[in-house]
Amino acid sequence: MLAAILSLGCIGLIAAVALGFAAKKFAVEVDPRELAALEVLPGANCGACGFPGCGGYAKALVAGSIDLNQCPPGGADTVAKLANILGVEASAAAREIAVVLCQGDNRKAQVKYHYLGLEDCTAAQRIADGPKVCPGGCVGLGSCLRACPFDAIEMTADGLAVISREKCTGCRKCVAVCPRKVIRMTPYESVVHVLCNSHDKGALVRKYCQVGCIGCNICKKTIPDAYKIENFLAEVVYEQDAEAAEAISKCPTKCILDFSVAYPDGSAQLPAVTDKPHAA
C-alpha cells in the first residue's frame, strides 16, 4: 500500500515538476483573445468546424480567416460571445432578413429562350444575360436555394425563389450569390415589399412582366412617406412603412405584397416555425 502511494506519488511529482519547469522555461506568448475564445467554445474537439479541435478553431478565429458561425455545437450563444471577444460587430442590431424582390416567375415574366445546361443562375446569366427578358428579375435556377445553409429558400413550381421569413437568419449568403442582386436585406418587422427589381420604363416592363413595377407613382401618392420612386422603380422606405399596406390595393400591377398575408407563390403565409423542432 505504502509502496503504491509512494511510487505513484513520485511519478506524479516528477511529472509535475517537469511540467512546471517546462511551462516556465518554454512559455510562449499566446494572444489573450485566443485563450478567451477557447474558453467560450464547447471544448468537445468534435472537429465540426473543420479544424482538429477547438484550439485550432480559436486560432483561426483570431487570425480572422474563418467565420464565427462554424461551430454548430456552440450554437448562437457561442457566436454572440465570440463576436464579443473578437470585437466583431455584435449582432445586437435589429433582425434583418432577406427578401426576393421579384414575383416574375416563368408564367408571369416573359422568357426569351429555353436555357439548357448548368442549373445555376450565374452560369445562365452568362448566356445572353439569362433566360428572362427582364434584366433585373429572379433568374429562377435556384442558386440561392443551394447557397442557403438554413433551408430557408424554396423554389416555386414556376421557378421563383421565395424566402421563408421565419427560417431566414440573415446570413446574406443568398445575397452574395445572386447574379441579379434581386435579393435584398430588409428589417424583419417590415412585411410590405415592392416585389420588383427592374429599372426599365413602365411601357417596357409591361411588355415582359405582368407583375412588374411600372413606376406609376400611385403608391407614393397614396402613402407619400412609405414609398420612394427611383428610376421608374418604387421601393418601400422601410424606416417609415407603418401604413405601407394601404397602397397595396391601389397598385395597378399588383407588385406590392404584404408578406403577413400571402407569399409570392400564392400560398398563405407559412405558419411560424414554432411547432417544428428547431435545430439548436
Binding site: Y113, Y115, L116, G117, A123, R126, I127, P131
Partner: protein, 302 residues
C-alpha cells in the same frame, strides 16, 4: 421568331452515349457468365441470379420512394449490382441469404450515400463482405458444377484454391494433379461461386466491354499483372509448394475480380495514375481475401 430558341453553353453536340446505354452494355457483358453458370449449376444458380437481381431492383424502388426521389431503376445500375452480387455467391445460397445481400447492397451500399454515382464502395462487394462475415458457413460452401439434366445433385467440394491452401497447410506440398484440371476450369467446370465457373465466359464479356470502350486496360492490367508477377516469383522459387501463375489466373475468381468487380466505374479512380495504383492495390486485398477480392476500398483522392 415563332418558336423559342434553345440557348446553351458550348458544346452543342453530344456523343449520344448515355448512362443507361453504358449500364446495359455491362449487363450484356455479364450474360455469358450467367448463361454458363446456369448451364453448369442448374436451376439453383438461376434462382440466385433472379432473386439477387429482383431483390436489388425492389430495394432500389423502395428506397427511392421512401426518400421521395424519382425512381431510376430503368438506368440498369441496380440490375448490375444484383447480377454481380449473384456471381459472387455460391450457387447453393439459400434464398434469404441472397435477398438479404441484395437489400444490403442497395440500401446500405448505395442509397444511403445518395444513389448512383455517390457510393464510395462497390455495392455488390459491400453485400458480399457483410454476408461473408455474417454467414461464413453458407458463403463458403462450394459445389462442383454438374450439367443440367445429368441427374446429379450438386456436390459440396472445395475450390481449387482452397484445396491448395489446405494441402499446403497440412503437408507443405502442393497436391499433385491440381493443375491438371486447368483447361476444363478455364472452360467452365471450376468449383466456386456462380461467376467463377468459367473464365472463358467472363473474358468474352470483358472483350465486349473493351470493344465498347467501357473498360479500359488500366485496372485489369495492373491487377492481373501484379498477381502474375508475384505468383510467378513464388512459383519460380518453389514450384513444389506454389502453383503457377496460370493456376491463379484461371481459378480463384481473379478474372471476375479484375475485370468486373474491381472496375466498377463509380468506385474507381478516374485518373490513369490512380487507376494503375488502384489495380496494384487490389492485389493486396486479393491475396488476403483468398478469392474474389474485397478490393472495394477506393483510392478516392487520385
Amino acid at each position: 421568331m415563332s418558336q423559342q430558341l434553345y440557348l446553351s453553353s458550348s458544346p452543342h453536340i453530344h456523343s449520344g452515349e448515355t448512362t443507361t446505354k453504358v449500364m446495359r452494355a455491362v449487363i450484356y457483358s455479364l450474360l455469358p457468365a450467367c448463361g454458363v453458370a446456369v448451364y453448369f449449376f442448374g436451376p439453383s444458380a438461376l434462382s440466385v441470379l433472379l432473386i439477387a437481381t429482383l431483390g436489388c431492383l425492389a430495394t432500389e424502388v423502395v428506397c427511392q420512394r421512401l426518400m421521395g426521389q424519382p425512381v431510376t431503376i430503368a438506368d440498369g445500375s441496380a440490375a448490375i449490382t444484383g447480377i454481380l452480387l449473384a456471381l459472387n455467391l455460391p450457387p447453393t445460397s439459400p434464398w434469404w441469404l441472397t435477398l438479404f445481400g441484395a437489400v444490403v447492397a442497395i440500401a446500405i451500399g448505395k442509397q444511403v450515400y445518395g444513389g448512383l454515382g455517390s457510393n464510395p464502395f462497390n455495392p455488390a462487394l459491400v453485400a458480399r463482405v457483410v454476408l461473408l462475415i455474417s454467414f461464413p458457413v453458407q458463403m463458403t460452401t462450394w459445389s462442383a458444377p454438374a450439367l443440367v439434366g445429368s441427374g446429379l445433385d450438386l456436390v459440396t467440394t472445395a475450390t481449387p484454391l482452397g484445396e491448395w491452401k489446405n494441402a499446403v497447410m497440412l503437408t507443405g506440398e502442393m497436391p499433385t494433379g491440381l493443375e491438371g484440371g486447368l483447361p476444363s476450369y478455364f472452360l467452365g467446370t471450376m468449383p466456386g461461386s456462380i461467376g467463377e465457373v468459367s473464365a472463358l465466359a467472363l473474358l468474352l464479356g470483358a472483350a465486349y466491354l473493351f470493344y465498347r470502350r467501357i473498360l479500359t486496360w488500366h485496372i485489369p492490367t495492373a491487377f492481373v499483372g501484379t498477381v502474375i508477377l508475384l505468383s510467378g516469383l513464388f512459383w519460380l522459387i518453389n514450384p513444389a509448394k506454389y502453383p503457377s501463375p496460370v493456376f491463379h489466373m484461371v481459378t480463384g475468381g481473379l478474372i471476375l475480380g479484375a475485370f468486373f468487380m474491381a472496375t466498377d466505374m463509380v468506385t474507381t479512380p478516374v485518373s490513369t495514375r490512380g487507376m494503375l495504383l488502384f489495380g496494384v492495390g487490389c492485389w493486396l486485398c486479393f491475396i488476403s481475401a483468398g478469392h474474389a477480392p474485397m478490393c472495394f476500398v477506393a483510392v478516392p483522392t487520385l
